[in-house]
Symmetry: C2
Subunit: 347 residues, 2 copies
């Protein structure tokens, strides 16, 4: 039995308590200051109010953030369960508390933009934030997996990435079950880039849903146009993976994750509203109070692609869908899919 | 104005009458012996009984098969609109009638297996069937496009492939409209292989739908498992494209077409039934009377992959999903997704 300390009690981290406890490990679920009510409720009744599921009956201990050091005492591994909005908090407050010998696994997926617009993976970002002289093994989870379905023990296939294959194998042993299937990769940039990109493109494909449903919402969903945008997304993602030297085979995580994101939740919702003709402000208003990582990530990715273009590393004209999504989000552009710019001649 | 003779009045060919007539061309729609009623009904009322749509009011002339030579007289291009089951008939009866100067465009997508199990593209197959000394330019349409949505003038993006880029450009000019978007490629093997493969894999991904819905049909659709099978499909398709020297960029047609096929019609239906636990015979019984190209193509593709493995050109273990689909269809295997064989270690 190992002890795994989860810092952050959001939906994905909490869902991972199922495979971990099923494998006989002790999960110490620590809420951040934003998770206070979640921890209170879960400790009292086992119910997770945002995951909307009963957490495992056995094997979980609950902690408020004040007790994080207690929760880290004697732990064998740490799971960082904060969203991208909590990353800096985690790096400042929690990273220094983790012993060098204890490996860290991030639920936070994708890339983050530095001040100069260059994007790096979350593991690299976390490493850059380590206190002087501190060494930690920092790994991350990529691939298509929604927390609800994981909690319901549906089959999910993900990738754990990091620089040390032995540590990745240890993490796989902690979490692999008959329904949670884990591939391992030391190509951190490839896995995380694929995963980051799908956020932007899920929004792009969802535009077709809204276009078909129409302004008054009475239309029927169509698939030819979704498929066209899906194919274009795969093409642009594959191209960007090549430019950043991520292995092209990571497109499987990008395409799989794109697929599940198009069917799930908020990114589809905003894309659909935009496709129906809502302005970006109005569409965001409809989703009020909900933080949309996909918007942040799409903006960052587009920003990064524009900078790479300025340096001559790529042609903006190879990314017409991403540029259009960015123009909708950030420049108030109306949805007007640049269909002809997707057309190619290969001979 | 050009004259385009469509031989075969099935759904896809008939749907293509919309962009062709909209561009001011004359469409001569010739029914095969199987299309007799379609032509009678459409000629009388403009209604296409299987496409379930009114065909364009102007620009179409209707012909029964007896009048095919009349329909070919003075034509500028021919569209072959038969399904894979009609290909041999077309090659024997119609190919000899087409003048050498008139290019042919095939609606029939994908690959066909020769007697030795090797697969070739339909354009190559048609060329092999040309009478001695006859030369024809034979081209094909690939990419995600369902006939209903094309007839409804929803946006669709496809690829025309053939060996002569100038002829492809002429075809593009005939058919390109504000909703029918055409890329061109001389990589015939790449485009057609991608398209053929998606048939097999659409069935594979649909298994997850059935598994989630369950034996009694009361379950809810899940997406993590579909996404996992989708990602695995993209991986296997990409790998096979590399082995046959089709450009890897054709994965965009494969992935796009896979996406639309999962949502459309018969292939999804059979995959869902199998996933719910129906035997192959019982599942096919539920769809009685319907010819399922995906079953034929999945079987052919698996057969071809097994032969390539025997020749040492690939490892069967790299195609676990395709092999499982083949075992379900052809060996009476029960659905039991080989999840762990999808897992990889990359370092």
């Amino acid at each position: 039995m190992s002890i795994i300390t989860f810092v952050g009690a959001g939906q994905m981290a909490s869902a991972l308590s199922f495979p971990a406890t099923e494998n006989g490990h002790e999960v110490r679920l620590v809420g951040t200051h934003l998770d206070r009510e979640i921890i209170e409720t879960a400790e009292a009744s086992g119910f997770h109010p945002t995951l909307k599921r009963q957490l495992p009956n056995e094997g979980i201990k609950y902690y408020q953030i004040e007790d994080v050091e207690l929760a880290l005492d004697g732990t064998n591994a740490v799971l960082c369960g904060v969203s991208s909005f909590g990353v800096d908090w985690f790096c400042e407050k929690i990273l220094p508390l983790i012993p060098d010998s204890v490996p860290l696994l991030l639920v936070t997926k994708g890339m983050i933009a530095l001040a100069d617009g260059f994007m790096i993976t979350y593991p690299d970002y976390f490493i850059s934030k380590l206190p002087d002289g501190k060494k930690l093994s920092i790994n991350a989870i990529g691939g298509p997996c929604t927390s609800y379905e994981l909690a319901d023990k549906d089959h999910s296939a993900v990738a754990f990435c990091g620089t040390d294959i032995e540590i990745l194998r240890r993490f796989k042993k902690l979490f692999e079950t008959s329904y949670y299937h884990i591939s391992l990769s030391t190509d951190v940039v490839g896995v995380e880039c694929a995963v980051a990109l799908k956020n932007a493109y899920a929004l792009g494909v969802s535009l077709a849903v809204g276009l078909a449903i129409g302004t008054d919402g009475s239309g029927k969903e169509h698939y030819n146009s979704q498929a066209a945008l899906f194919g274009q997304s795969v093409k642009e993602m594959k191209h960007l993976l090549e430019i950043i030297n991520g292995g092209a085979e990571n497109i499987i995580y990008g395409a799989g994750d794109l697929y599940v994101t198009i069917f799930g939740g908020r990114t589809r919702k905003i894309g659909t509203l935009l496709g129906r003709g809502f302005s970006f402000e109005k569409a965001m208003g409809e989703l009020e109070g909900i933080t949309l990582e996909s918007i942040v990530i799409a903006t960052r990715t587009a920003c990064c692609v524009r900078r790479l273009a300025k340096r001559g590393m790529l042609q903006l004209s190879d990314f017409p869908l991403l540029m259009h999504v960015d123009n909708i989000i950030n420049n108030g552009a109306a949805v007007d899919i640049p269909w002809t710019s997707f057309e190619t001649e290969k001979y």
